[in-house]
């Protein structure tokens, strides 16, 4: 039952990705609406799937790679749907939905069996810490997508070669606004995740901070985004510079999420 539902969600995200890409190639209001409803249906089923798994397992289902990838994807699609409405940039979906699809495929490739929870994870902090962390990741991912679109559009305008996507991509200012807005959402979420993580670490391992690789890299990521936010608010790091930093931040974030789990063994290596 769970597996079938998961495959349906995977199919819906796949269809939504294709539909958004078709929209990118040939914008038509019908394809736009279709894409939106495919993504929205996928999201609702995905929510149901996650809640169902929570109920079945009896703990927050963000404890292994299968669950993490899945929740990451869920958070991205959720934030995207909110932004699509707010900024009326359907085209963003052509960049975001494929990312969500990749995450779901990654999730699918890991064993999905529900195992008894590791004793160390048995805590009410599990819910807050992981949910905030991945919601923050999702907001940063959206900032990354907007940044990529910004750099493409900026390239067209700067070098005066108005290529194929020029007419379809939104104005620079809109993309910059999305980038900034995502940052203002992602940064507080990520901050809360780190703080709750520290509190949890104190109760579980007896120390707030033990320089485990995950902690170190999270801190690096946090500082990067903090610098970007600070630069934006004080000296006007906007436009191109903000876009490049959002992309750099995302790459570091990916390493924090994946690289640390696979290459740097530590307390957080839950496969």
């Amino acid at each position: 039952m769970n597996l079938i539902l998961f495959k349906v969600i995977l199919g819906l995200y796949c269809a939504a990705s294709i539909s958004y890409l078709v929209y990118l190639a040939k914008p038509a209001s019908f394809t736009g609406r279709l894409s939106h409803w495919l993504a929205a249906t996928g999201f609702i089923l995905h929510c149901a799937f996650t809640l169902f798994r929570y109920h079945e397992a009896g703990y927050t289902p963000i404890t292994n790679m299968h669950e993490s990838f899945s929740f990451f994807g869920l958070a991205i699609v959720g934030i995207f749907i909110a932004f699509e409405r707010r900024y009326r940039v359907v085209i963003l979906g052509a960049f975001v939905l494929p990312v969500a699809l990749l995450l779901l495929i990654a999730s699918f490739s890991f064993p999905s069996a529900i195992l008894p929870l590791l004793p160390v994870l048995k805590s009410r902090w599990l819910l807050v810490h992981t949910t905030f962390a991945f919601s923050g990741y999702a907001a940063f991912t959206l900032a990354f997508c907007a940044a990529v679109m910004y750099l493409i559009q900026e390239h067209y305008l700067k070098y005066k070669k108005l290529g194929a996507l020029y007419h379809k991509l939104p104005p620079l200012d809109t993309l910059d606004d999305i980038n900034y807005h995502c940052l203002t959402i992602g940064f507080p979420l990520f901050t809360v995740a780190i703080i709750t993580g520290a509190i949890w670490a104190e109760t579980a391992w007896g120390s707030y901070w033990s320089w485990d690789p995950k902690e170190t890299w999270s801190l690096i990521t946090w500082f990067l985004y903090a610098a970007l936010l600070h630069g934006r608010l004080t000296t006007g790091w906007r436009g191109r510079r903000a876009a490049i930093l959002a992309i750099a931040g995302f790459i570091v974030l990916l390493f924090t999420f994946l690289g640390v789990n696979f290459f740097l063994p530590g307390l957080h290596s839950y496969k």
């Binding site: 005066k160 104005p171 620079l172």
Partner: protein, 434 residues
């Protein structure tokens, strides 16, 4: 009945000919009435714009109708026929339908995709409808042309890109800033070109306009006209900080805005993007300004380049538009030919029936002792014979397919069976397949 188009356009005639045969809109009633009064012309519309003068008419006699309208155009405008004739074109059948569809869809315009032509055709049709010189066929024809134009507009991007330098600048600004309603434009130089571009920005809804000029009085005068604010040319850099869009078109022989100055300005603006448009020759703004972060500088050549690429894009969109026109011609010409086919079938049937009744009556008059039952048999027999005889030609005419030479068959049938053409006396109008 045939649709014919007679006229000339920017493609076939120079301006000095076009201006001589143009019709003033308020004086269109007289020529319209004269055209429909011509022999064999049933309906007429006159389209007269600065790029074309065309008459759309319905006639029974294609060659004669075209010749008479050509002659009319020369006579009405007191032009020697020999001088006008080489510039005139005349279309009929599918070529006429295609021509009008293309004109309405702005595929035949000087600037392809320009939106005015559709409005001009609509008002030309309005006059013809008002003076009742257009009837069933032209009404249907023109409405079809409007819907083809609408399809082309919505299904292709033929009219969606800017083809003038000033308009291209506004579009670029929208791609940088999105909404312009909270943006300030600074116009440097009070020349004509700059003013024109500034007006484009004003009509796209900017927040405010600053005007700087070496002679302050001229800046003040223009500021009044454009509802802007004149600023001191000597404090240019200070004011520049408040401008999101800078439009420069001074006659200065040297550059008036240096890259280093702009670098300072953008820092003070906290890197808020700026869009510089330099339409002066020689240039007012240091080209290196474009290398600064969050600043976009377009000069005349850059803008021309944008316009040229938009025009190229229009050309590819035009191919899609031609395809739409092609699709729409088929059902319309089918409808048009059904207009002549239906009355012909009716006439053919009644002619056969007439002969049958006459011959049957003759026979029955002689054959007095024929039982009533056999009389009925005879009736059925003759009816069956003409039914069988008529079936192939009628079904051929009704097929109404493209490439079907219905006009030829109709003419042949009329000649062979001596049918009197009767067109407008059928009340029912065959439906056009949408």
């Amino acid at each position: 009945m045939n649709i014919i188009v007679v006229g000339l356009s920017h493609k076939s005639a120079p301006l000095e000919i076009r201006e001589k045969i143009a019709f003033a809109p308020h004086l269109i009633e007289q020529p319209l009435r004269e055209i429909v009064a011509l022999q064999d012309i049933a309906e007429a519309i006159i389209l007269s714009t600065c790029n074309r003068v065309e008459v759309y008419a319905i006639t029974r006699d294609i060659a004669g109708g075209i010749a008479r309208i050509k002659r009319f155009l020369a006579d009405y405008h007191h032009l020697p026929f020999e001088r006008l004739e080489p510039h005139l074109y005349g279309y009929h059948g599918e070529a006429a339908i295609r021509h009008v569809f293309r004109v309405a869809a702005s595929l035949d315009s000087l600037v392809m995709g320009e939106p005015q032509i559709l409005g001009q055709i609509k008002s030309a049709y309005g006059y013809a409808a008002e003076y009742k010189t257009s009837g069933i066929i032209l009404n249907r024809f023109l409405h079809k042309a409007f819907s083809v134009a609408k399809r082309v507009r919505t299904e292709t991007r033929i009219a969606s890109s800017a083809v003038s330098v000033a308009f291209a600048a506004v579009e670029l600004a929208k791609k940088i800033f999105g909404e312009l309603s909270d943006k300030t434009v600074m116009l440097i130089g009070a020349g004509e070109m700059g003013e024109l571009a500034a007006r484009h920005f004003i009509s796209s809804g900017i927040r405010s306009m600053m005007i700087a000029n070496r002679t302050f009085e001229r800046a003040e005068k223009l500021a009044e006209e454009l509802d802007g604010r004149a600023v001191d040319f000597n404090d240019l850099l200070e004011h520049l900080q408040k401008a999101d869009i800078v439009l420069s078109s001074t006659g200065a022989p040297q550059q008036i805005i240096k890259s280093a100055d702009v670098a300072g300005v953008i820092r003070r603006r906290k890197m808020k993007p700026m869009f510089f448009i330099d339409i002066a020759v020689p240039r007012d703004i240091d080209p290196k300004v474009n290398d600064l972060e969050n600043i976009y500088l377009y000069n005349t050549d850059d803008l021309q380049g944008v316009v040229a690429s938009n025009l190229r894009q229009r050309a590819t969109e035009a191919e899609k538009a031609e395809e739409i026109v092609n699709q729409e011609i088929i059902p319309f010409s089918a409808w048009l030919s059904s207009l002549t086919v239906t009355p012909t079938i009716v006439a053919l049937r009644s002619r056969f029936e007439e002969i049958r009744r006459a011959e049957l009556a003759k026979t029955l008059a002689v054959w007095k002792d024929l039982p009533k039952e056999d009389e009925k048999r005879l009736e059925a027999l003759t009816a069956a014979i003409i039914g069988k005889l008529l079936h192939p030609p009628v079904s051929l005419l009704k097929q109404n397919q493209q490439g079907n030479r219905n006009d030829l068959y109709v003419d042949a049938l009329r000649l062979l069976f001596d049918l009197n053409p009767a067109l407008h006396d059928t009340d029912e109008e065959p439906e056009l397949d949408e």
